[in-house]
Amino acid sequence: MGLVFWLVVAPLIAGLVILLVPRLGAAVHRGLAFLGSAAALVLTAVAWDQFQYNITGFQHVTALYWFTLPSLWHGANPNGPGNLIIGLSFGVDGLSLPLLALTSLISLLAIVAAKRSVERTREYYFWISLVTAGLLGVFCALDLFTFIAALEITLFAMFFLIYIFGEERRQSAAFKFLLYRGLATVALLVALVGIAYGAAGAYGSQQAATLSGTGLSFDIPTLTNVMHTVSTQAFSSHARSWLFLFLLLAVFIEEAFVPFHTWLPTAHESADTPTSMMLGGVLTKTGAYILLRFGVGLLPGEVRQYGVLIAVFGAINILYGAFAAWAQTDWRRLIAFGSISHMGLVLLGIAALNAVGLQGAMFMMVSSGLLTALLFFLVGAIKDRTETSRIPALGGLSRSLPMLSGFLLVAALGSLGLPLTSGFISEVQAFIGGFDTYPVISFVGVLGVILSAVYLLYAMQKTTFGPLDPRYGELVDATPREYVPALVLTALVLFIGIDPKVIGELFGLSVNALMRIGG
């Protein structure tokens, strides 16, 4: 069918056209990038529509042959060297489909939100399209090599976006980003390639005729099958533990968890609004995806074994993120720490390793993605008018900017988990799951929710209420173009909060698949 393949390739084609066709105007560049992301969104919708809920495993699979690395394996085939086949394969399941929708939607809205005044539109929209294609590739790649390549593409494409189009202190922010995420990739490479070789070795020694995989395979579905059939004797728990710890290290850096968090606030502070929306809304969800797909998916025993560690780190991040957010005087840093706090909850939900917790973690990824993108968009819109995002410098904006302030309030309430918003449904599920397995740690984590109410409402009060600064008396409220991202994101936040069943069904499917192998 090739549906999912074209979904990834569409923004890539748009990006190449933008880059290579000379003498296109700024509006055409923007239009092409928009078209690329819109095509991805439409294809995601089609895939969602055709999704069959009675099938576990991947659907819409496109398995293209890419290339072969010869003689990298001979364990399973004693007669001669075995080759490592790299496939350009993509597919979706219940976990990746909502994330694909999130990615294509937020990239679309980021392009809408991009300022008309941006210079060097050719490069700008090329890198935005490339980041989008890379992220889409990350969420639906079915081959380890393709997955890592897609992740690396987002690394350097995002570097260019932060570096070329960022604001003050963009240099150090861009290089910090590069360093941290580069190190994460190293850890990820070790973990994933190690798991593939370990599984192949175990398979070879076990000689089980019932296994579907043969020899060394980078194919994720095959690998998942093999990993759940090989015994712990064949693939020692010692080796598995090490690989899992490498994976966890990669996840911690990708997600900007304490103590590897310093790159995220600086990156957000320097990046412009669309880049921040992509970064906070989608890119920081890759780590959680890795933990779910490869941690829970391939090494569930180790997730259980190190559950306490993960849960403790989850609680630490919930609290640290909240306290740090409280201390911030800049909205963008505040949102960044707030999202770290949210992602801590994802860790807690995953560590619980029960159906509710996992589902809560997945909900949190989408909810935090929508809310973070919305918050960055609104703060960016306010900053365009007031020329600052420093909280003490703002005040009384509800009078001069009633619509933007209203949206900001909704986003803040969603972020602190008010019922009927997506934040609520996510937090409740993650905590219920957490309490089931780690009651004490979860109790400590709940305090973070209270703190989030404190820092968000405090910042809201400073920004929108209080005396109106005369400088901000004559500001123009949201323009029609700005209503689009604000309304779409707000509507989705409320929609998921009111009717979580739509994506809950999808997530439930993945949770069941994960629980069957994990439990």
Binding site: W66, V190, V193
Partner: protein, 492 residues
Amino acid sequence: MPNLDALHQPYWSAMGPMITLTVAAFVVMILEFVFKSEDKRWLHGLSMLGVVAALVVAIWHFYAKPQAVLATVQNDIIATMFTLLILITALLVFLFTYDYAAQVKVASEHTYLILFAVVGALAMVSSVDMVTLYVGLELLSVSSYILAALRTKSTRSVEGGIKYLLMGSIGSAVLLYGLSFIYGLSGTTNLGELFSKQTLTSGASLFAQYPAVTVLAFVLILGGLGFKLSLVPFHMWTPDTYDGAPTPISAFLSTLSKTAVFGMLLRMMLYVFSVSGSNMFYLASLLAVASMLVGNLIALPQRNMKRLLAFSSVAQAGYVLIPFTMFNENNVVDWTSLVNSITFYLFAYTFTTVGAFAIVHVVSHARNSGDSDALLGLYQRSPWLAGALTIFLLGLAGMPLTAGFVGKFYIFADTIHLHQAWLGVLLFLTSVVSFFYYFGWIRKIYQKSEAKDSVLIRPSGIMNTLLGLCVLGTLILGVVPATLLHALAKLA
């Protein structure tokens, strides 16, 4: 009546490129003597023609049955692939010198000197006899010494050339000393014979009989070739020589000459040491580790573009050395994957490095400065050069969609497969260090230049051809690596 075709066929398929190039070299040399005209750039054209003819011969016999001629020259996978790479590199270098000679006055003798050096390089990758290997190495080295000091009016060029001469001669002497031990122990200079002698019975390997002397010979050979490969701690000459030499010659030294030496090292490892059953290979991994660490760390503060590329080439040589550290007896069954990963990485490295040197030349010539600040605002002066250099730097840093990523991944997979994961991890960790200087250049390229002299840079058509080829090579091997990998698999 004997069939003469059958007699000549093996000679031609194994030595065709070498013979063609030797003829070309002599023709160019004689014509250079004979014609006294001022502008001798047509000699480049003629040399290029010779290289292209050799390429045609090499491709014609690409899938010819591997065989040894006179027990000395062989056309197996190593010879075929390395010959192809060396000839492609030579073509790129000649395009480069053609453009260079139009702008900078250089002695036109360098045309046939490069051709002779390439003949030497071909001998190094295709012969299986220590004498021929050494003759090839010296032919390459002696030509290179002259080439490095070609800008006779520049003290830096002469200084770099003399440093290269001194260090290179020491390297050759050390290597020869090592080879002499191998000859003394085995009584033969022929690698094929050496290999079959060693594998005759279980205890017949040189190491099993004379462990101490074999390890000594291993160290001497590795050290001697290490000088030529500018591996740490034998790298001291590299920045000065690369900086002083004409830029095309720097590109030549860091790609073609290293490819040939790697080819020779591959022969020695495979035929002499792989069957030794000893763990002396960890000595090679020490060199690899030192090169990756020192090369990348010293490159960080460099401001001169050519010196930075010199240190980057030290680090890159360290990456390529990783597969060489795994040629022990247990792994030698996997030698095809090791050879493949080495070859693939060398291809990736060649395209990116020649391209980077070419742009460094264009930029530093246009702005009259070799400092990396000359790159400031390059995207305003020439979007094409900025884009091409970005691709080369992303390739050198090992980013996906370029050949560098696949190459590094292949080496990494090798290390995991053969239980040397720590080397693979170090490869990627030091690559993260290298991000700082490669992306540091990218930072300068896309920085807005406030300078008033933001004139456009227009490279010549020849230069654009060269850059286009390098960009194509980097991207094709990154997006469809199967083009090269399938040829490798077919030959193995």
